[in-house]
Amino acid sequence: MITSTLQINGQQVSHQLPDETLLVELLREHQSLTGTHVGCDTTQCGACTVEVDGKILKSCTLLVAQIDGSQITTIEGLSSNGHLHPVQEAFKECHALQCGFCTPGMIMAISHFLKDKPQELNDEIIIKALEGNICRCTGYVNIIKAFKTAALKMYPDLQMLTEA
């Protein structure tokens, strides 16, 4: 058994857990934070993406034992004081989700990418940023649109390059 203390969405939580417990299991089973989804168990689909100590990681292949003392942000902790994060807003406005299963992971990955103002943004950069996340419903068209919309919400003077 391990003892783990983590800051999850700003709250400190301590658990006694079996050694092999994965972060996603802790979030879903012990914290009832079921917005973090398991889509593949093998780091391929990105549905379980969360932020750990400022890094964006896939919680389905991360042992809790590896990250003792870390600060975790999940989809449930992204909005603040009842205000949606600009990426969440953009997802709704642009119809960037259908079934919604990949959505929390997508939003976590994008909001992390946009945490610091990018120097510039175009489709190529966005597509690269979405490399780790799979969606089966949207064809990504509206996800890319939401990415840009959110970027401009956060950084109105951001240079958005159009493709040739």
Partner: protein
């Protein structure tokens, strides 16, 4: 409100992580199921040793098919033969006189023989998932490996392994549709005859939510509940209660949020039945969550059809007859025959073809069962027809557009009855094609090709016309009922898996009854209140439910008029429904539904007398509307794809994709656009990257994960030019045709036409599907070799 891009009601919970998919639901005292799956494609099970597993810590049960059968239960009766597309009172395939027709009961766990890799064999129930997995390691299954066959054409061979003793050469059913003799007569006299064989590749559904299920048994009520994502709870309930021999009132099926459907989740799965059975047997809540590696070898799969096409042309390039033979790989169990059934009806697509016939063989193989996957048979038929036209144009020296113009059904031919019995009531096929070609700048293509050549690239352009046909469950029910607080409750038997029903149905209800969207309570996906319904698949939901909402609204308004008339003691014909209000002009009175609801709740109205006078037994403002049959509708359009191949690597780059789509009236453009994108992505995925490969000797699956099965990633969809057109259908009040499958239906056809155009390969064998860079590179090498 209709035609507006209203933002979705479902999104607030889904973007904040508050959606509730099956695995998100936690039941007090839940235990966990884990399945041991067959590692062989075909094997006899000599014995299963479970003793060590059973005595391993925290294990509650280790169950096999023997345990299930000993309780007198039976396998799932899938009813694979669908209702006919035209006459829904009869099945699509005429099986009655076929002595070899054999539909197996699909057991929750394999009994004595395993027939595909991934088939469930043993179920371990334990207090934790880990305990169940650890115990599973201790189960010893003694298999005697048998020869396996994975391809439909191989399965027909005399020496081929036979899956079911009742089914000689694995052909479960064979039937010819259309007039074979007349077709052959026409082909004999045709000026030109073109033949080609097409292998439409197998597809993995790969919805993002791995299938999951929770079984609950209530001892006091002696009732069973299955909580599990699906495409329709009523069909699942029916299959479940038949298998477990329970009464209708003993089974409840609940479907929470669903992480993608696309067809295969319409049918019940062995794991769902197993979990329900185990809950009943152990009297404990039992949960199962599939892992992705399980999904790849157990989610019902799509396509895998081999179609041989023969088309005869006259001297002018006009088609005189089409003859297809269609081998449908149904997999190891008879789960669904929908794809060949759909493909048969639509085989002549948008062309005026006097004679057609198709011979269909439904073939068992040692593979995961197949069933409907987005489009289900329609993309396959369109692929064949559109490729054949390009091949014919090449061989007959006719322009590709010209040969289509010669053969397209003209608007003045409508209503047009196809040789396969469909009647197209609307659709401007010629105009759709012309508009698409203009938008795609088709005529300037040669210039762009030259430019590509100068960069050492092969550039191609292809087009495909398409039309769809209405199929799916031929029943539906909705219920509208006014609540005391003035809110309108809407219950529907259709069920969203991402299509946004909570939004679009509200828009339609608002249109007819004027309720604010927020005042409409949306309910679906639970057999406790959804007493009847066909679920969501095959572009059916808005067309059928929209019609039912119109019917029910009319009835609700008529009721309201009678109630208003009763309250004010006037004739009901003196009550008008205007601007979403009931009005009695001569008295200067008016009332909304909300006010009426309040009035009915006040003590001033004698409800009993009102009910007697109106002759209504149910709540006064509750209307149930039922539907049975078909509402014909034919979504149609045209698509053009332009691409470039790098001959050094075989990599295909899609440059742009253009389409004009007649989906009928658009209720919510934002949502319909999304459906187009999603369908298109799946079509492009099949065309270019989604390859499900087997070792043909052992039947082992070689592409069982996202690492080796190419679900499209961001960037796969090229710049789009999509435009909606509408040639209105008069066959349903909202003029709905359907938009869920428009993206996918022409997609592989138009990509493969573009590939053949780029490689100038219409006179060669077909490029294998999917055309991955390795496939294309290899194909280019064979072209080079034959030139050398």
């Amino acid at each position: 409100m209709i035609g507006q891009s209203i933002l979705r009601f479902e999104d607030d919970r889904l973007i904040t992580g508050l959606g509730q998919y099956t695995d998100d639901i936690k039941i007090e005292g839940q235990t966990y199921a884990y399945f041991i799956r067959s590692e062989h494609a075909h094997a006899k099970i000599n014995s299963i040793y479970t003793q060590d597993a059973l005595s391993s810590p925290d294990v509650l049960a280790v169950l096999t098919a023997e345990d299930y059968l000993n309780q007198g239960y039976q396998g799932i009766q899938h009813v694979p033969n669908p209702a006919d597309a035209v006459d829904s009172s009869r099945p699509s395939f005429s099986i009655a006189k076929n002595p070899q027709y054999f539909v197996n009961l699909h057991l929750p766990l394999a009994h004595r023989v395993v027939r595909h890799v991934g088939e469930t064999v043993v179920m371990v129930i334990a207090k934790t998932v880990l305990a169940a997995k650890n115990a599973a390691e201790m189960v010893v299954i003694d298999y005697e490996v048998l020869d396996a066959v994975v391809k439909a054409d191989d399965a027909l061979g005399e020496a081929a392994p036979q899956l079911w003793p009742q089914v000689a050469r694995n052909v479960c059913h064979e039937e010819t549709f259309g007039d074979l003799e007349r077709v052959e007569e026409k082909l004999r006299h045709a000026a030109h005859v073109i033949e080609r064989r097409f292998i439409n590749s197998r597809i993995v559904n790969a919805q993002m939510e791995p299938r999951s299920a929770i079984g609950l048994y209530d001892e006091h009520q002696d009732s069973l509940t299955l909580i599990s994502g699906s495409q329709g709870v009523n069909k699942q309930k029916q299959c479940l209660l038949e298998a477990l021999k329970l009464r209708d009132d003993q089974v409840r099926v609940i479907c929470p949020d669903v992480g993608g459907g696309f067809g295969p989740r319409t049918m019940l799965y062995p794991e769902q039945l197993a979990v329900a059975w185990a809950a009943l047997r152990l009297k404990k809540p039992i949960k199962w969550r599939g892992e992705r590696s399980e999904c790849f070898v157990s989610d019902y799969q799509g396509r895998d059809q081999i179609i041989h096409s023969t088309i005869g042309f006259d001297h002018n390039g006009k088609i005189v007859a089409v003859k297809n033979t269609w081998l449908a790989n149904i997999g190891a169990h008879s789960v669904s025959f929908v794809p060949p059934s759909n493909g048969m009806r639509i085989m002549t697509t948008v062309y005026d073809i006097p004679q057609a016939c198709v011979n269909i063989k439904l073939v068992y193989t040692n593979t995961v069962p197949t069933g409907p996957y987005r489009g289900a048979g329609r993309p396959e038929s369109h692929h064949v027809m559109e490729r054949m036209l390009d091949i014919a144009a090449d061989q007959l020296h006719i322009d590709r557009i010209k040969i289509r113009e010669i053969n397209l059904i003209r608007k003045d031919q409508l209503p047009y009855r196809s040789p396969m019995g469909l009647t197209y009531d609307s659709g401007d096929f010629v105009a759709n094609m012309q508009q698409t070609l203009q938008m795609a700048l088709w005529s300037d293509f040669p210039k762009r090709k030259q430019e590509s050549i100068s960069r050492g690239k092969l550039r191609g352009i292809g087009l495909a016309n398409y039309v769809e046909a209405p199929v799916g469950a031929p029943i539906e029910r909705i219920c509208l009922s006014l609540k005391d607080n003035g809110h309108l409750e809407f219950i529907t038997g259709t069920q969203s898996q991402g299509q946004g029903h909570e939004t679009t149905f509200r828009q339609v209800i608002h249109h007819y009854l004027g309720f604010a969207l927020e005042d409409i309570i949306f309910r679906s996906g639970d057999t406790q209140f959804v007493t009847k319904g066909g679920g969501t698949h095959s572009d059916r939901s808005m067309r059928i439910v929209g019609t039912l909402i119109q019917n029910a609204s009319e009835e609700l308004i008529a009721r309201g008029k009678s109630i208003m008339a009763f309250i004010h003691r006037v004739e009901s014909k003196e009550v008008q429904w205007m601007n979403y209000r009931f009005e009695i002009t001569k008295l200067g009175l008016s009332m909304t539904f909300l006010e009426m609801s309040k009035a009915l709740n006040s003590s001033e109205i004698d409800l009993q007398t009102l009910k007697t006078e109106l002759n209504i037994e149910s709540p006064l403002l509750q209307v149930i509307a039922d539907f049975k049959g078909r509402i014909p509708a034919h979504p149609t359009g045209c698509a053009v794809c332009e691409l470039e191949i790098d001959p050094q690597t075989g990599e295909v780059q899609l440059l742009n994709y253009t389409s004009v789509d007649d989906v009928g009236q658009v209720i919510n453009p934002l949502i319909v656009d999304g459906q187009m994108h999603g369908g298109l992505a799946q079509g492009l995925g099949q065309a270019l990257s989604e390859g499900y490969y087997f070792d043909s000797q052992s039947g082992q699956v070689l592409s069982g994960s996202f690492m080796d099965y190419g679900v499209p990633r961001a960037g796969r969809i090229p710049p789009l030019r999509i435009k909606f057109s509408e040639d209105p259908t008069l066959l349903n009040p909202l003029r709905i045709k359907g938009g869920g499958e428009s993206g996918i239906t022409p997609a592989t056809a138009c990509v493969f036409n573009a590939l053949a155009n780029a490689m100038n390969s219409n006179r060669r064998d077909e490029i294998p599907m999917p055309a991955t860079s390795s496939v294309v590179w290899t194909y280019l090498q064979t072209i080079k070799e034959t030139h050398e």
